[in-house]
């Protein structure tokens, strides 16, 4: 039901009180009006507007999408048994059925009119990440969309960065697109090719570079592109066994572009090699952790220095005082995960054959041959615009090239300018759906190819998909299914597997409120990144193995790396990187809801927030956005020093005293309170640490009662209740995937089709991939 609030949030949050004409519920049956009078108007009529909602003045103009959404919500509340409240007189099942049927009919009656009101062509701007992928797949060029002055971050809607209604194009975008296109064309068709070089940065003769947590060794990449970066050194675990994680940290983007746990011993160093696409800039080879800096910002106090390679690290226990951080404990063991690096080798930029193949035929070899120019431009424009082009579209580019040459420019410069122009065409940075001369309901094959490729690859279709579109294969279920299977097996599916769970579960919020270093000294950027990666790896595993959706909320396994295993107090996995780990029944974990990422993103920097946890779960897992709190709600105050210590749960219960607050919190809070055993960074706890107040830290209480009356004692029981509601989970998940794939918020007009997909592909044995397949092969996916 997120669809309802989605529309409301996007367009108008004030509809609840919108004074529609007093025509009331004209056209409704007498029985329905009697039902409303008997059960609804007392609280949602002239006298009272509980929840800021008034029913008696709600128009039946369901051609208005907002009105249709309102009626859909009325239907949902009645159908779900939420309204009338259980302490009021209850209507009979027949009465409810009659009212629900009539509302459904009304909503359906307006569907065609609502569709007709949509524009003839929909434009969905590419997100900046999609822009980067498209450029790479088009020309094999790495364009750094996050570089200063490139593109701004895209606005998010509930975590999604690809919602068409939000991705508008402002005049400032055009300038940036022009500048970006210039850079891209220049990089693809340089007059002088950038030579690939191999450079090695070494420690001084007889020395090794010691890097404690957060410390780094810098190198620079002048050009963006594909690089092979090799690092030689040792990774020494702390005395606790925690191992160091080496990361290639981009200094300006403030994030890691590659990394791995370094395991080599002091006497037996090892070599790590990373190959991939890297933007230009300064990179820090970092012992990935929170950087310890002095308050005045100038003095770094964790050790970053060259040490004698022949001197065992255990001997670095000095006999004199010093202002420097301790290296080893009294037994000569490193006090923290420590890196000893010998050298860093950078090789690149490397041009692969597949990258070069993308540029083949784009630049004509004979500058006097107009036919070749036209063909080259056509090939490029069709791939860039991801649709067939008509000759008249090419004419103006050819004319432009000729005019530029007449004005004295060289052919190469003029032609490059034409390519740039193609990349600043709206057909490039928009996904276009619809025709200006007809009001189509369904997508054509090229539009369908675009929808599919941006759904699964966040990028343009490849040649095979274009060919299938050209042949009309995508119009058939078999043809579409064949392409879907091929694309799901392509390495580029990684983009979906990384991007979708991040957006669906709002993982961008992890670390948004940096945990207080004094309360959580163990929290560091690598832990934060590991949290996100656990959830992404978990979803990837579910996708690859087509696991049933119930395992998203309840399972006996998870994906762990060494850092997270350490954080959870589990044994270190034997493999490096993320690996599937089977959980013991009493582990307290299993399913996304007990991932440290989710438990952190629903907390602030100092404490967990059960209400936010409940709201997040409702929104992300159940696709139902709870109503926002009323304004001017007093925040919870910290426990005073002279008062007994109290859990946040106890404070909340004392806080929500107004009947309005209680009714809402009764629905949201249990979803979050079930996870009271997890602190603000997702660690297990039995008591809640309260900084101020008298007495000992109080024990936590993870029990609760769901709005439907089912009770649970802890998170494990709660997860089982949730997992048992398979169809609800499937419907909610589908709604999220469809939002991602269709680049728009689901509306009341999509509900029926979502239900149909769930009915055909939402069985308990059906997995994530099956649900996605069900969506792609559905009518909904093909609708404009």
């Amino acid at each position: 039901m997120k669809i309802l609030h989605g529309i409301l949030l996007l367009v108008s949050a004030s509809l609840w009180l919108t004074p529609f004409p007093a025509q009331g519920e004209e056209g409704l049956r007498e029985a329905t009006l009697t039902f409303f009078e008997a059960h609804c108007y007392r609280c949602h009529g002239e006298e009272k507007q509980k929840g800021r909602f008034r029913l008696d003045t709600l128009t039946t103009d369901v051609e208005n999408p907002l009105v249709a959404e309102k009626w859909a919500e009325v239907r949902f509340r009645i159908n779900a048994g939420e309204m009338p409240p259980e302490d009021e007189a209850q209507p009979t099942a027949e009465e409810i059925g009659g009212v629900v049927d009539e509302i459904t009919q009304k909503i359906q009656d307006g569907a065609a009119a609502r569709m007709a009101k949509r524009g003839l062509v929909n434009h969905y701007r590419l997100s900046r990440q999609e822009y980067a992928h498209t450029i790479y797949d088009l020309l094999g060029v790495v364009f750094d969309v996050e570089a200063p002055g490139a593109f701004n971050a895209d606005p998010l809607w509930h975590g999604f960065d690809r919602i068409g209604a939000l991705l508008s194009v402002a005049p400032s975008h055009i300038g940036r697109y022009l500048s970006a296109a210039d850079t891209v064309v220049a990089l693809a068709f340089l007059e002088a090719e950038i030579p690939s070089e191999t450079k090695r940065h070494s420690a001084s003769e007889g020395k090794r570079r010691l890097l404690q947590l957060g410390e780094s060794w810098r190198f620079h990449l002048k050009h963006p592109g594909r690089y092979r970066i090799t690092i030689h050194g040792s990774g020494l675990p702390a005395f606790t066994g925690r191992i160091p994680h080496l990361s290639l940290w981009h200094h300006h983007h403030k994030r890691s572009f590659a990394g791995a746990d370094l395991m080599g011993t002091e006497g037996n160093p090892s070599t790590l090699t990373f190959e991939g696409l890297f933007p230009a800039g300064d990179y820090d080879v970092r012992n990935h952790a929170r950087t310890q800096r002095h308050a005045n910002g100038s003095l770094k106090l964790f050790r970053n220095e060259e040490i004698d390679a022949a001197q065992p690290i255990a001997s670095l226990k000095t006999q004199h005082p010093s202002p420097w951080t301790k290296v080893v404990d009294d037994e000569g063991r490193p006090v923290m995960p420590t890196l000893l690096l010998d050298w860093i080798q950078v090789e690149g930029p490397i041009l692969t054959e597949s990258d070069l193949a993308k540029r083949e035929g784009v630049f004509p070899t004979d500058k006097t041959n107009l036919s070749e120019q036209r063909n080259a431009l056509r090939r490029f424009a069709e791939r860039a615009w991801r649709r067939p082009v008509v000759e008249s579209e090419l004419d103006r580019y050819l004319r432009f090239i000729a005019t530029e040459q007449e004005a004295g420019e060289s052919f190469a410069t003029a032609y490059r300018s034409a390519l740039t122009s193609i990349l600043v065409s709206r057909s490039f940075f928009h996904i276009e759906m619809g025709s200006p001369d007809e009001n189509r309901l369904l997508l054509n094959d090229f539009e369908l190819a675009n929808r599919l490729s941006y759904f699964l690859w966040s990028s343009m279709p490849d040649d095979l998909l274009f060919a299938a579109a050209r042949r009309g294969d995508l119009s058939t279920s078999e043809g579409l299914a064949a392409q879907l299977d091929r694309m799901m097996a392509d390495p580029k599916i990684e983009r979906f597997l990384h991007s979708f769970p991040k957006q669906w579960l709002q993982l961008h919020r992890v670390g948004m409120f940096q945990p207080d270093p004094e309360l959580y000294p163990e929290y560091d950027p690598w832990l934060e990144e590991s949290m996100r990666q656990e959830t992404i790896a978990y979803f990837t595993e579910m996708f690859q193995k087509n696991l049933p959706l119930r395992q998203a909320v309840d399972s006996n396994w998870t994906m762990l790396n060494a850092r997270l295993a350490y954080h959870y107090g589990f044994p270190r996995p034997s493999a490096t990187g993320f690996t599937r780990v089977e959980l013991l029944p009493d582990s307290g974990r299993g399913g996304i809801l007990t991932h440290a990422s989710v438990l952190s993103l629903t907390s602030d920097g100092t404490r967990h927030r059960p209400v936010h946890r409940g709201a997040w779960l409702s929104e992300a897992i159940l696709a139902f956005t709870p109503s926002p709190p009323p304004p001017n709600v007093d925040p919870l105050e910290p426990v005073a020093a002279d008062k007994p210590k109290a859990t946040i749960r106890a404070q909340l219960e004392a806080h929500a005293t107004s009947p309005n607050c209680v009714s809402c919190h009764a629905k949201i809070d249990p979803l979050g309170l079930a996870f009271e055993n997890f602190d603000a960074i997702g660690r297990w706890r039995d008591t809640e640490r309260i900084r101020e107040g008298m007495g000992v830290d109080p024990p936590v209480d993870p029990s609760g009662v769901l709005p439907d009356g089912r009770s649970f004692a802890n998170a494990s029981e709660f997860k089982k209740l949730l997992a048992d509601d398979e169809r609800r989970l499937a419907k909610a998940f589908l709604e999220q995937v469809a939002t991602y794939a269709l680049r728009r918020v689901m509306t009341v007009d999509d509900t029926e089709q979502l239900h149909t997909i769930v009915a055909t592909a939402g069985h308990s044995e059906d997995g994530v991939k099956s649900l996605m397949r069900g969506l792609v092969l559905s009518e909904l996916f093909k609708k404009r």
Partner: protein, 388 residues
Amino acid sequence: MIRATHLSVLGLFAVISVASAADDAKSEALRDHIPKPGVFPPAGAGIHWNGDLVMSDPMNRRGPLRKSQHAPRLYFAMLPYGMVSYHGAPADVRDIPLGTHLHGRFLLPIKGEEETIPLTEKQLKQSPSLRHSHAILLEDDVSFHQRQGRSWKVLGFEQGGGPAPRLKLSVEPIGPEIEGGLNKPTLFDIDDAARVWQKRSLVAKEAIKPDQEVQMNLTWGPFDSLAITDIWLDNESLTACREIQRQRHLRLIRSRFLPGWVDAVKNTDTGGGEVTVTLFGGMDPTLYEELSTTPHPKICDAATTLRTWSYHQEYSVRGETLQVETLENPPLGSSGIQMRLQIPQMLEGFRTGRIVRLKGPWTYVLLPADEWLASPEVFEQARRMRLP
């Protein structure tokens, strides 16, 4: 019967002899107690010594005492927990004017610090007690006597004769007999260089009257006599001087921080952990109160000289006070206050038995550069006292 009695007497004699020998051994062990890092010495350890401070190395808290005209100098270093009193208030070596007659309690060097005061074989042969070169307590006369409930009663002036006639003040002790003190009526030289304190003023020596109860500070005088440098005729005057010294002490420690040593360390693998520190004694109670009630003290490494590293304030680590415990009747050298801190960064010197300094809620101060331990070389140089 006679035989039995005789045997009993012999037996008793033997017991007393053994006990006496045991007492002597115990006394000798106490005298020659070797202090260990992290452990305060037992009560009564070491020897008493007194003499004039003839040189001073205030940075490293060292100097020599001269007992008499021909006696060898006792070169000493303060133990890290060594305490100094001047004018009855907490002090540092730097507060004591050269020439001040001092009393002190001196122990053998702390383990590992044997080379701090380099003594030749010849010196040690001539005066074995020079080995007791590490002071746990250093006091001027007024502090020494007043602490032990002693004062002086003025008997009157006497004009001395002989080849060097000098005016003398005749006094007799009031209070208990004390080790190292003058426990009988005495004559001290007095002349117009003596500061005579009454109320909050300096007055002429004629204000000194018989039967007055006074306190004095002394210095070496001709022919190994002792001369008066300061005499306090009333409590008010002494209180005023004590307060001035107390304020100097507060100023010093608030900028150099309270010293202590590390009792326990709990490293965490994030580079921080917990450090438990016992604060050294002899400081003004205000400082302990200020430090132990601050939620976020800072802590830095220090040497046994209590010198700190470079910009000690900047290189200090901000901690969080987890626990403060106070010990009843702490040993000499200890404040009895133990603090447990959580810190985000474990410095090299945060190891059991090492010295640290803790900053309370005090204003930002930069130290003179020559006080810093600027490098390992400076640290090494400072480890040994350079004798003239």
